[in-house]
Amino acid sequence: MKKAHIIGIVLIAIAIGAIISTVSDAATYADFSKAEQLEGREIQVVGTLNKEKDIIYNPKENANQFSFFMLDNNGVERKVVFNGAKPQDFERSEQVVITGTAKGDQFHADKILMKCPSKYNDGHADGLTEITAESNL
């Protein structure tokens, strides 16, 4: 067998490995009910903050715990707990994307991405600012 063939086979093997790893490391988009079926798996949920309920953050007790209620795109509400500081301007968020796992009737987020409308052109989609917060793992 020639060197070129060996190299070719190795390359193809690595490429397949890369594809498998990408697919297996990829998180899944889902709603809360699906997240609960897949308890323990990394899931991304897109939804909105329920502004009627309390956003709980008492930095004086624990700067690293923050929780809120979120509605997914089907309108299902869950309490979301986040190990980290509350992102600035969280109350203004228009859309929230959380990554994490379902635990019982709560969702434990380790990443929050949110979009806020900018004040000047309220309602226009291009006025969004995005903020991410990572939990401190």
Binding site: I7, A18, L128
Partner: protein
């Protein structure tokens, strides 16, 4: 018709005219250049026409850029672009950033570098000019088409940077558009606060210069395939490839520096899709450059050389598509939403098809089926190294492209939840291979090398690297096998290149460009391993309160609460939150870093002032502050701060009171002191409170407040009963120094054991804490020095290749 006051319409009209002129002349230049190279490689009349129109195109484009700058500089908010990206309050130094914040401006920036490079090539490309400039003109036509802003059958082509604010589709029905004096009150939207940073003034032009420079080897390669001049193009394209490696590398690294200095994600690289998509073309360009090197004498892997050279530029377009089309959407923090996805796809697909067409029509025969390189030869191992680079680029592209894969195949994959460990699990092993190859490949000779002398010559570097790696792993407590291996291989790359530089080039900087670049890369890898792999979080939460809700993971305590005046231990420092300063729209938090001396006194080491940039429209942005030592950085940033009631008046206002049921002897903690309920005083008289006149009975609560520094204050809230009028008063009593007030809340019954007390604090008390994070990055300077060394090395080799080519041409002329 409304007669609008104060609008400067001429500038925009001239601008639009110049866009049309520049677009048309780029197309004409393309046609004439194409014609000229159809005929011959010599100068002919078609080529002269091509040159003329490329120059007209260049001048017109410079005019467009000049006008847009002028409009931003004069705050001409009648133009949407100016309104959208700038404001009158913006410091002049950020005007450059306003220019390229938007899609149109960044397109112009890229096109600007293409006219710089194009005009250099008109002078230097000689026989290649016709073909190369055909490609350049075609790319410019695509860029200018993105500025046209015209509608053809309801399809918008391009987006005009000179569109008026009142005519923009977002503004059409708004009331101000019918007010002739609207310019008197319109203020610009302003620049994204994240971009108000000096790195954002220099990073985009550098990256776009790098992007533009990938077009030069691309254009040479296409021309070579087209004209079937498979060999001699390398000599001409080689300096440009290494110039591109240098400038694009510099741009990418500046992006990292910006992230480190201005963003609060605590590091210089986060595998963000936008970062990745600028890194991948660089990796491929490095691979292409190295293949050009080994193919300039012998055409062993010419097909691969062509493929990678063409791929570098295609990946640049793909990268622009990812960042500008909005497809990254939810996956990236800094993608622009307002793009022209359709046009970008056509731009991308056009050059993919062009590359495929020439590669398979004329390049297929170049695949070498018989001859093989010797195992111990330089060309064989350089080829292996380029394959490793290709794998690296493939893996990054694949994972970054998840949103594109979703769009094409209708899947619903989300990007990896933990991108850093996902990418690192691939890129660390590949980097181990690359650094090891960098260390030993250049000792190999072309064609064939004897193995024994080779082993002898690299042994000192290997031994030195083992010692250095063990020492460093011991000092920094690096325990992960892959990181230890990377530590070794990067030290090996460094030592081996220093050795080569001394032994083979005798320390000549002029000749040793490649060695210097490789040394820099080794340092870059070592520096990122030491700093990012061993980041020490010193802001550990040391309070007893720590609610773990998740048993699988360790409690997260990277953040710490700092109350103003408090001193908190953050090994090896004690940190005091000294004060909060408000300057204009910046809120600074001064943190004093102290150490204990031998006598147990605090000695100040330095002060860091992380800050929050207030921006009502786009959200407040926290920015870090870093103390740089030669061997480590101490990095701090604010993760949470109460930014309400920042002005002085509301600072002095009291918040709503809390009502507490207390007993004598109780103590209550408030934000800045401990309140001790000393005793109940039954017979207080007018000496205590002026309201205690005759016929009034006072019941007082003696309260002592003790601060953390040991000061005590006394105060006595009262219940005053007016017997005559049958009324009860509960006046507030205040401790002004502490910003706290009390009032006796029980009014109905005279219970002496349990009393209700109201306590209220001023707003300034509550805002006097922040949540912060402090990280130590060890040896991060190795990384930055490595970056600079690598970039300089690339430029030196580019320069050397130019000299080489000149010499060759001279010899030929003789």
């Amino acid at each position: 018709m409304i007669d609008y006051v104060g609008e400067n319409l001429i500038a925009g009209q001239v601008g639009e005219l110049l866009i049309a002129l520049s677009f048309v002349s780029s197309i004409l230049a393309m046609i004439f250049y194409f014609k000229s190279s159809e005929l011959s490689l010599e100068v002919n009349s078609w080529k002269r026409l091509g040159r003329m129109f490329y120059r007209i195109h260049s001048v017109a484009l410079l005019g467009i850029i000049g006008i847009l700058f002028y409009l931003i500089y004069t705050h001409s908010f009648e133009y949407y672009y100016v309104w959208r990206h700038s404001s009158t309050t913006l410091p002049v130094r950020y005007i450059l950033s306003c220019f390229w914040e938007g899609q149109e401006g960044s397109t112009m920036l890229w096109a600007f570098w293409n006219i710089v490079l194009g005009n250099i090539l008109i002078k230097t490309a000689k026989k290649w000019e016709g073909g190369v400039m055909t490609i350049f003109s075609s790319v410019q036509a695509f860029h200018l088409a993105m500025l046209l802003g015209i509608f053809v059958f309801d399809i918008q082509i391009g987006s005009n940077p000179f569109i008026l604010l009142r005519e923009h589709t977002d503004m059409l029905s708004l009331p101000f558009t019918s007010n002739p004096n609207y310019l008197e009150f319109v203020e610009g939207n302003g620049l994204n606060p994240l971009l108000q940073n000096y790195w954002m003034v220099i990073h985009p032009p550098t990256v776009f210069f790098g992007f533009a420079s990938t077009l030069v080897p691309f254009a040479f390669a296409i021309t070579a395939l087209w004209k079937r001049e498979f060999h001699s193009w390398i000599q001409a394209a080689l300096p440009w490839a290494f110039f591109g490696v240098g400038i694009l590398g510099l741009g990418v690294l500046m992006g990292g520096a910006w992230a480190y200095e201005a963003l609060s994600f605590g590091g210089f690289w986060a595998w963000d899709p936008v970062e990745n998509s600028s890194l991948v073309p660089w990796i491929i360009l490095v691979a292409a450059g190295h293949l050009m090197l080994i193919n300039r004498n012998k055409m062993r892997s010419m097909f691969a050389t062509f493929t990678l050279t063409l791929l570098a530029f295609i990946l640049v377009i793909y990268s622009t598509y990812l960042t500008k089309s909005g497809i990254l959407g939810e996956t990236s923090v800094h993608s622009f939403a307002d793009g022209l996805p359709g046009q970008l796809i056509i731009f991308l697909v056009f050059y993919i098809l062009l590359a495929f067409f020439f590669l398979f029509k004329n390049g297929w025969g170049l695949i070498n089926k018989n001859e093989e390189d010797a195992f111990w030869s330089r060309e064989f191992w350089i080829f292996i190294a380029t394959l490793v680079l290709v794998i690296s680029a493939f893996q990054i592209t694949l994972s970054t492209s998840i949103p594109v894969i979703n769009a094409i195949f209708g899947t619903d994959m989300a990007p990896p939840a933990d991108p850093i460990s996902h990418y690192n699990s691939w890129q660390i092993p590949l980097t181990i291979l690359i650094t090891f190859l960098i260390g030993f490949t250049q000792w190999l000779k072309y064609k064939k090398t004897a193995v024994k002398p080779l082993l002898k010559i690299i042994t000192p570097s290997i031994i030195a690297a083992i010692i250095a790696a063990i020492g460093m792993a011991y000092v920094l407590e690096i325990r992960k096998p892959f990181l230890n291996l990377l530590l070794f291989s990067s030290f090996f790359a460094i030592f081996s290149n220093v050795d080569y530089f001394i032994r083979m080039f005798r320390g000549s900087v002029k000749k040793g460009g490649s060695t210097i670049a490789h040394l820099g890369f080794g340092m870059l890898v070592l520096g990122s391993l030491l700093s990012a792999g061993n980041t020490d979080i010193i802001s550990k939460n040391t309070t007893p309160v720590n609610i773990k809700f998740d048993n699988d993971k360790d409690a997260n305590d990277e953040n710490i609460m700092m109350i103003k005046g408090d001193t908190v231990l953050m090994e090896p420092y004690f940190v005091t939150y000294l004060d909060r300063r408000i300057e204009d729209k910046f809120v600074y938090y001064d943190m004093d870093y102290l150490k204990l001396d031998a006598e147990g006194r605090y000695v100040k080491q330095f002060t860091l002032s992380p800050f929050v940039q207030l921006n009502e429209q786009m959200g407040n942005v926290p920015e870090p502050s870093t103390k740089h030592y030669w061997n480590r950085d101490i990095f701090t940033h604010i993760t949470y701060a109460d930014l309400d009631n920042l002005d002085e008046n509301s600072q002095e206002e009291y918040r709503d009171a809390d009502t507490l049921e207390i007993a004598i002897g109780d103590s209550i903690f408030i934000s800045n002191s401990v309140i001790i309920i000393e005793s109940l005083e039954r017979n207080v008289d007018s000496s205590v409170h002026e309201m205690l006149t005759k016929n009034r009975i006072g019941l007082g609560l003696k309260i002592k407040a003790r601060t953390l520094t040991g000061n005590t204050y006394e105060v006595m809230p009262l219940m005053i009963v007016d017997v005559e009028n049958n009324r009860v008063f509960n006046p507030w009593v205040e401790i002004e120094e502490l910003g706290v007030r009390f009032s006796y809340a029980t009014t109905t019954k005279m219970d002496y054991d349990k009393v209700e007390l109201r306590i209220a604090e001023k707003n300034k008390n509550s805002a006097d804490f922040v949540i912060m994070q402090a990280l130590v990055f060890p040896y991060i300077n190795v990384l930055w020095i490595g970056c600079i060394v690598m970039v300089l090395g690339s430029f030196i080799s580019a320069y050397n290749r130019v000299q080489e080519r000149r010499k060759k041409n001279k010899q030929l002329n003789k």
